[in-house]
Symmetry: C2
Subunit: 483 residues, 2 copies
């Protein structure tokens, strides 16, 4: 059903056959001997060229065939005489579905800035850059589902609206149906959330992990892939208010199994993109080279596909936080006081430290483990005391990638009820809010692990795009919920 | 990585081999000659039986092996002498990861009501019924992605937080970071949403369709699969405040292509479940028969897998709303005044009418088309005037299924700018709110179509579960956002 698409025609249609193409005009060019119309339907980066003879169509029709117009072209597939394509369409007929007045249509065939394109996010998927990004995003998402399905995981839809901010992962959005101007109030004058839709204060989730663990402690291996939210007022190239996360949780996995899975998984999805998005990656690679050509050689990125192949082909370096601190303390930038932030055991690593480890010291992705307990979440399994570290550590792991830093954060989870409850009290969470989470440690508790991958960070890494707002169709950030 | 799972052992492990199983105790039974422990790890409906000799383990250990406890069992895979399983594990060693005190653990081996299980949604995936439902839910979700990927669609993540209630599909949840008790106010005393996170009032999406159309008018074929929300105070077995929708949108598809796709798609995913969830469907079929055995024969449902095969094997009946009204007006229940709601051209069909058409008249799934314009959404393509219908109609389609009624709703979309704008004004939407949607009809507009499938309705249909709260892991409904 539906028309044959350009990617199919370019792949398999035979010269001499009749074709009917429904697509948008990218460019039109008229020469003395022919009129060339480049058509694209979004199924592929490549256009197909339709060729008409001068005088074949009335001027009143040709005038409407401008960049952005939508056409049905019927004709015959013929060998192309021009360079750059094997086949083209000899036009017999054309129907104009929709015009695009060149005076108004903002996507003319010239370079547009990414900032400008963000303002017309409803149209930017019609550009080469954004259609390539969206096709790659699709391929990565499909690879995620395929990987987990093939490996015996069950996709679990954890709730989006939640009444527990157990993770303390950040500022949350409130979800409400109360009258904003005149909310009901209790006898003390406070807003009475008992009257709200859910009978209590509710928020948008910051993570599906806690509910994911409930699934893993019944089905053994689950994963989530859904939207998560942060109401943080950060206008950076790395943060969105609404983004998609992938969170696998596995019963009976210890920290080593967790690292093995994270590495295998992220390599699989990147390899899937390398195998299935050849043209789009090549296009983005050229785009990046073009963007960076004014930079000095030393500051340019590794070519995109080379960078991806490098990640896929090399084992990630694994070391403890404590070992990493030693390396950083002995590093040149530390000794020469080039790091902006101080490094010593106990501090949270900054981007500059992570990048030093990944890009300068090891020159490959790094997994750091066994972080100080004091800087990590309450649900991470506390390590047994060891002489190696000066203070208690937890079985956390962060996967660090070149260019973007932390792409995966995870841990073995604390499965001991008493230890977990102590940590809950320590960090000031009300145990009554997460009674159901605590109960899983009372009833058939099991060692288990999991991690979270920010999907947009992954898409950024694979596409090489610098701004996270450019790898999601309709980005949400402070003061912006357009489209 | 991770342990071998019970479904793999039952499928392929060879008798005589050593095995290590990590799983939860379903039941323990002691006889004179042996101790039998049924273990389940959620990978399959089936348990594996571990067998120990009396006296092999100390009483203090055996006492802790109760329903719900989590164990690591090592032993040898041997042929089973008992009935009901081909193999079992001769135990050599056991490690207890977690106990489950029978005094406290609510999931004892007896029948629990679905209502009770909803109160312990954190534990119910450990039951046969809910693990079967969640495995089927996973299989259906994977089939959705596989179908669209295989057919050249791109998965588009449409926004969850939106500033446009263009669809008018229902009550919305407000998303805010304003102080609930003391919101900022403008000079007129109204809540000043300019101060809110997004600089305007924002809500949770009721549908990704409008943004989906933006994708289709660039990439040709896209689909969404994400959460959607309704803040309706309905406590029914068919409604959730948070549910997942699948919404494909296709450029160049007319209503017939749309129907072809809907039928092919829904048959594909049901067939996928039939092929990949044999044991779980069989279990739920027996469960349903058990539930209904007190009902008179005539009121019992068709056996579950028979019902599914019936849908997969037969072409759906397609007719217009106008034709359906005639059938209903000539029907026995209408003439005998048995319908609760009045039927005449122009009314919205009620569940009783839909069920009559599907279950009594055609005895198969039905697609109704060309509904009165007055009862359908503004974005549906207006039909050309025809003598068949007494008033204007639109190219809508509803797919009706036995038992659950409407499972898919869709339409060809209005691609004509002027007609669409008129409809927008007619229904009272502010065109400035959806300027981006309207612009796609100004720039390269194209005939296009799409539909929406409520994922939980599909899971209900395939699992035969009566209450929609039982087919999503953690249901959200009025006064309930637990877990």
């Amino acid at each position: 059903m539906g028309p044959i698409q350009i990617n199919q025609i370019l792949k398999s249609a035979e010269v001499g056959q009749p074709v009917e193409i429904k697509a948008w005009v990218r460019t039109k060019r008229e020469s003395k001997n022919a009129i060339f119309i480049s058509l694209n339907d979004g199924s592929t980066l490549h256009n197909i060229q339709a060729v008409a003879e001068p005088g074949q169509f009335p001027e009143s029709t040709l005038r409407l065939i401008t960049t952005g117009a939508c056409l049905k072209v019927t004709g015959t597939l013929v060998e192309s005489l021009g360079s750059g394509q094997a086949v083209e369409v000899k036009m017999q007929d054309v129907l104009i579905y929709g015009t695009a007045d060149p005076e108004d249509y903002p996507l003319q065939p010239k370079k547009h800035s990414l900032e400008f394109l963000r303002e017309i996010a409803h149209l930017r998927p019609r550009t080469n850059t954004f259609s390539a990004i969206l096709r790659i995003r699709h391929a990565l998402a499909f690879a995620v589902h395929k990987y987990y399905n093939d490996n015996g995981f069950f996709y679990l839809h954890t709730p989006i609206i939640t009444a527990s901010d157990a993770e303390g992962a950040g500022e949350m959005f409130r979800v409400t149906t109360l009258d904003a101007g005149e909310p009901p109030r209790d006898e003390t004058g406070k807003v009475d959330y008992k009257e709200d839709f859910f009978g209590r204060e509710a928020n948008l989730t910051v993570s599906g992990q806690l509910e994911g663990e409930l699934g893993a402690l019944a089905l053994s291996k689950i994963y989530t892939f859904g939207p998560t939210f942060r109401a943080e007022n950060s206008n950076t190239t790395r943060h969105l208010a609404e983004f998609w996360m992938i969170e696998p949780e596995m019963a009976f996995f210890d920290l080593n199994d967790n690292m093995d899975l994270a590495e295998d998984f992220v390599k699989y999805v990147i390899r899937y993109a390398l195998d299935n998005c050849v043209d789009d990656l090549e296009f983005l690679e050229k785009r990046q080279a073009e963007e960076e050509k004014s930079k000095p050689q030393a500051e340019r990125s590794m070519p995109l596909t080379e960078k991806l192949r490098f990640v896929v082909d090399n084992p990630f370096e694994r070391l403890t936080y404590t070992e990493a601190i030693k390396i950083l303390e002995n590093s040149k930038p530390h000794k020469q006081k080039k790091f902006q932030y101080h490094v010593e055991w106990g501090v949270d690593l900054q981007s500059e430290h992570e990048r030093y480890l990944v890009e300068k010291h090891f020159k490959k992705p790094v997994i750091l483990t066994n972080y100080p307990r004091s800087i990590k979440s309450f649900y991470m399994k506390v390590d047994e005391a060891s002489d190696a570290a000066p203070a208690p550590t937890v079985r956390a792991m962060d996967v660090l990638f070149p260019g973007i830093g932390e792409i995966i954060g995870g841990s073995q989870r604390e499965e001991n009820y008493d230890v977990l409850l102590e940590r809950v009290h320590e960090v000031g969470i009300d145990p009554d809010i997460i009674w159901w989470y605590l109960e899983t440690r009372k009833f058939g508790t099991a060692p288990h692990s999991g991690f979270g991958l920010g999907f947009e960070r992954l898409v950024q890494f694979v596409t090489g795009m610098g701004n996270i707002r450019d790898v999601i169709p309709f980005p949400r950030y402070p003061k912006s919920a357009e489209f």
